[in-house]
Symmetry: none
Subunit: 213 residues, 4 copies
DNA sequence: CATGAATGAGTGTTCATTCAT
DNA sequence: AATGAATGAACACTCATTCAT
């Protein structure tokens, strides 16, 4: 089952590819339609056959990419469920790895989404909010189903969502930037460790003193 | 040593205050010099007596604010040091609380810094990077001094910095947005818990099984 | 000789009908070819199989309609001729009624012709001028033939033409706009009265004084 | 009491003068802001210091000019009042002459107003409608005050307004176009004759027959 | 005959920056 | 120091027209 590598891209696809590239390079505001069309190799007017405005193509690109993540959210049945902590760890690791893979396969759009989706006095806030809400729903569902209330330190899904997303977004974009092509397995592992156990200074301290001032 | 509360703001201060306000509302790109001067109540040309360009005032504002955080970094001598885990917890809690207080006292600039400092194809990347590097230095110093290498799960300061900053930035901006005026003590506490111990699903599991699928 | 009411319109007719409609709605400049073809239900390119340009279809429409009026001019043999003033009045009434009927049967085009035919820095001035010249010729012919020079207050046909056309055009378009479907007989009557006798303040004054300040 | 002929025109006046000129030459749609500013001898951006848009300057110009006519309407106390028909004739002649003088002193704007104020699917319809309504009011007031109902052939002011305006507008623009600088006194006289008595075929026919076919 | 995707010149409007007063 | 009128480069978007199929 091979992917058709000799795929002839439609004009719309060419425009989207070019747009992703330039948006990533320059950001939304500094990107000119003329940049996009010249990279796509079509005329100015052609752009407007496919997109009503600069905002629309940006929104389309980001929404589409966001939905890739949301799809993973929706397809995840195991997260906090498992016979023991190792099983749970494995679920989470797997989950994070899938997200990182998507991030990696579309680095430019990913960075775009997390960058411009947040900023700008909220011009595109709704895109990211959508993604965020979807993640909270996921957490809520799994927490309610799989974790006895008294076994969980943090009561509300919202707080957890913020913490976890903070870790995920920052890590993904940072390491992606640093080591251009990164090892998702390894990063997913470290993120899982941190999410489940934090810095683990305590476990490190078993039976002896930390050195002190 | 009292602060002069009936301080008559200089023209430059008026411009900065106005700029912070508008930058926060509209973002850097959408902010017009005319917005700033009209809010500051001065003439268009006056702006250029104090700032060479729109970029410069933005940079000045953000750099100044960033330095507030950096100052806290530099003044922190206790972080991972302490007789027991409770002492360490207290240090970190204190540290986070100080940062949150600064964040809170200048919400607009804070949000600006974390938003636009990251995005924009890196127009202002350096500002945030400066802040980031400073934080890494802090961590490295304290880790090296206070934690025996074999007692620490995560070997490199960089990874930890990314994780911790992710949690901090996201949480601060999110909860600031939600609950307009928030309780820094409480948030610092939750952040400390998460940073030190993660979700604590394992500790919750003492002596019994998690429910399972 | 019956008109085929179940006439299937050709593509060209569809284009013209659509064009009349949109031109009337939006005016020449604001009408887009895309409006016309989409209303006609044909493709963009099809337009250019029948018309060289937007100007051409406009000119064709208006010229054709103008010729309907010109035809009436040419077919009119009685205007100022008659045994007495009543006969003349009847001729003029009949003449105006015929023009109004044409106006009414093609309101959209009529309004178009009188609106845009005049304006626009003269882009289509010639169309209206043609119509105007034709009307002057008519007047000149009938005046010369039927009115003894010394019996006529206004010496030149041109002035009369301007006066009469002013009354006709303005009235037709105004009352057409107001009372959507209007009574041509009645309007023709009033116009005839005004054209022949003016406001008739004097005749109203027979045997008594107008009231005075 | 001499007009200051060495008046230095403000930038706004220069823009308006240029705009009137070009609007008159090319019509509203075909006029480019770049035409206006280059004729006014200022930069592109300067235009927008004084007018929000092309539409606004057009509206300002036309409204201002329309108000010149409206002012005459409002300042007219004698129209249909008078001891005899000659007095009335004189009033009307005077009234028309004043309007024609205004028309003449601002030919370009006048033509603009009557051309584009009417057409264009109503983009600027309201301007002309305002003028029209104002004229109807004038007529109504004078008719009610000065003419006994049974002495007047045409009952409603609206119809008369349409007839009279038709004559005025058409004549003014036509003769203005033909004989560049025209004799307002003479034209006003002819218009008065026509308005009061029509073509006067009947008076011409006193005591003898018109020749007939 | 018909299609409709592609073209690209054209233009209104914005806004950071300058400078004479 | 302060003003604010003037600048002009820059850019998103429109739409009549073409042409390969």
């Amino acid at each position: 089952m091979s992917v058709n590598t000799s795929h002839i891209p439609s004009t719309k696809e060419q425009l989207i590819d070019a747009a992703v590239h330039i948006f990533h390079q320059k950001g939304f505001q500094k990107t000119r339609i003329s940049d996009i069309v010249s990279e796509a190799g079509v005329a100015q007017g052609t752009f407007y056959l496919y997109f009503r405005s600069k905002e629309e193509i940006f929104r389309q690109i980001n929404t589409a990419h966001m939905n890739r993540f949301v799809k993973v959210f929706e397809e995840t049945d195991l997260l906090f469920a498992g016979d023991d902590i190792q099983a749970i760890r494995k679920n989470i690791h797997h989950f994070l790895n899938k997200l990182l893979e998507i991030y990696k396969q579309n680095v430019h759009v990913s960075e775009l989404l997390f960058r411009e989706g947040i900023g700008h006095g909220g011009l595109f806030k709704e895109i990211h909010e959508n993604f965020f809400d979807s993640f909270i729903s996921l957490l809520r569902k799994h927490m309610k189903r799989d974790i006895p209330p008294d076994h969980f330190h943090f009561e509300d899904a919202e707080t957890i969502a913020v913490f976890l997303l903070g870790v995920f977004e920052r890590s993904a974009s940072y390491f992606m930037l640093m080591q251009k092509q990164f090892n998702t397995e390894k990063l997913a592992g470290r993120m899982t460790d941190f999410m489940l156990n934090g810095l683990q200074l305590n476990s490190a301290n078993h039976g002896r003193q930390l050195n002190l001032k």
